[in-house]
Amino acid sequence: MDLLFFQMAIALYVCAAVAYLVFLILPEGKRVNVAFGLMLAGFITHILSIFHRALFSGYFPLTTLFDAVSLFSLLIVGAFLIFRYHEPSPIFGAITAPLAAVLMIFGTTLSYQIQQPVVPILRSWWLPIHVLLALIGNGIFASMAIAGLMYMIQERLIKSKKIGRLYRMLPSLETLDAINRRGLPLGFFFLTLGIISGALWAGSAWGSYWSWDPKETWSLITWFVYAAMVHQRLVLGWRGRKAAIFAIAGFVLVMFTFVGVSAFLGGYHSFSGVESFRGMPRL
């Protein structure tokens, strides 16, 4: 029962993904609206599931990796729903819907039990602030990576002169590069705020702003990589394919920092859901 809304949201995202993929094979028609409707229904159900969990636990549900993954996919879907008004190409849906579905299904493999009582440090306003800032940054980097992937495909199609349906469906190179151009400073901004807010939280909780915990270290590495990207783009004028490759590589690093570090390297950022398959005690 406690996962009912969450599972409904997964089902709706999966249906939306199927509808979008069917759309890619069949020609234009009403199916896009159907897929969009499913996506929107999934989004609403997803919000309900988070509210439901908040009521259930009595505070903002962000203490487990399960919750972080759930909120992250919610942000991606939300970004897609907003972005759709600027670029209605259904191919964005065909990428976002499966991505959200896969992330959520991954979420169900994690333990979603909330440990009671919750560790006092997590009962702080810093929790939602820090996590939201970090996740918004991640969401922007995810969009840039998706656009980068589409850029690589579209570029290859045009260079190899394969002018077919996929070419017509994909947005223009300029649009895809613009996502990178505008997303990069914005994502970098949120990543920086995420790291600073984390440091401030640590400072207020433990008196030490930085303690080289694996997550902190990897966040810093990610920050330097994106800082380099900003430099290349703004100063050296990198664009197009190079920027796209960079966005994809950067996002791989982001995902490792987000999920991988907790699972493999531990540290006090380990979400309470992960220890079940690591067998290590958390803070």
Partner: protein
Amino acid sequence: MSVSIVVIGLNHSTAPVQIREKITFQGDPNGSATKSFANNPGVSELMILSTCNRVEIIAIYDGNQSTENELIDRIASYHQLDRENFDDYLYIKRDSDAVRHVFRVASSLDSMILGEPQILGQVKDGYRKASEAATTGPILNRLMHRGFFSAKRVRTETNVGAAAVSVAYVAVELAKKILGDLQDKSVLLIGAGEMAELAAKHLISQVVKPLTVVNRTYENACVLASQLDGSAVPMNELEQALTTADVVITSTGSCDPIICSPNMRNVMKVRRYRPIFLIDIAIPRDVEPAVHDIDGVYLYNIDDLQSVASDNLGERKIEALRGERIVEEEVSKFMNWTETLDSTPTIIALREKLEQIRTSELARLNGKLAKLNTDERDLVDQVTRSIINKIVHDPISFLKQSGKNAKRTDYLDVTQKLFNLYDTNTPAAGENEISDQ
């Protein structure tokens, strides 16, 4: 009474251009030609479709061959031609063939360039003229609306109009896919020949910035530039011009390439790898093929564009087959509707007869009803009305539903006899009362 529809016409596949240019109604803005054709006593509704590729007369008529002949004679006299001149090029399509033809034309499945979008507007134009001339009626109205609906379905449910099939459109589409919105992009023409002008025309209509022309003979560049509201640049400033341009069309008669890999690499460095789209329509080629391998450079020559265009045409042909199926569905829906038409006069007559009985009976009892107050009289009126409605409901829906029943004429006959419908003064309900849903 059954509906007869005829299409008499000729088009690009049946008639050569010498005939098509003689038989045209395009100089008929006030619809007087439509009126004069509709005056034929055998014709009840009529419209004329006239484009550069086809002329068609679409009519609802009595189904007699003599009426068709009169219409053809009128085409001849209208254009002061002998009928023998064009008789061989004409096609005459009747009833479901006519409906299918109209739907295919509106859906652009019968066009010279398959899937081109203009034809629907031209059909609407002809229809508008006819309705202004008051030569349309319920059947033509419905035929046209179903035709527009079929066209919309074919357009949205298939890709028949999706891909560009002319070199100029393919080039513009590519430019948009590479550079996004073209409004603020700049165009550079290298070579001042007629080819450059032709190729650029469609592209120029998409951009706001004035274009630049580079040519070996500077005077010719100036001439073309002034024609196209652009500026001219001498050949030795080519590299400079390349650094600011977004779309370049080359069409010089030069035997050696004008743009080579090394100088293009320099240009791209100066441009900071801002993408550039090169269209090489010259033979021999003006741009070294290796230029295409440079990051941010997209080079298409005339053969590339041509092969994209013909691939796209092949795709349209496949999509057109799916369009034909949609048209077929719509034709059979329309034909079903025409069959229900012959029950309509009987149904109207039946309703009118019963209403007549009701009002006359009420009038007869007027004296006795006078005692009642207004509310009660309204109630009596309401009750009698609803009794009538309840009684006729089943027979009427039975008559409507027996649309495809072979015995329907028998049923109609029985209904008419049972209620003695055509002995009274009931008018044989005119077509004007057939609702056009």
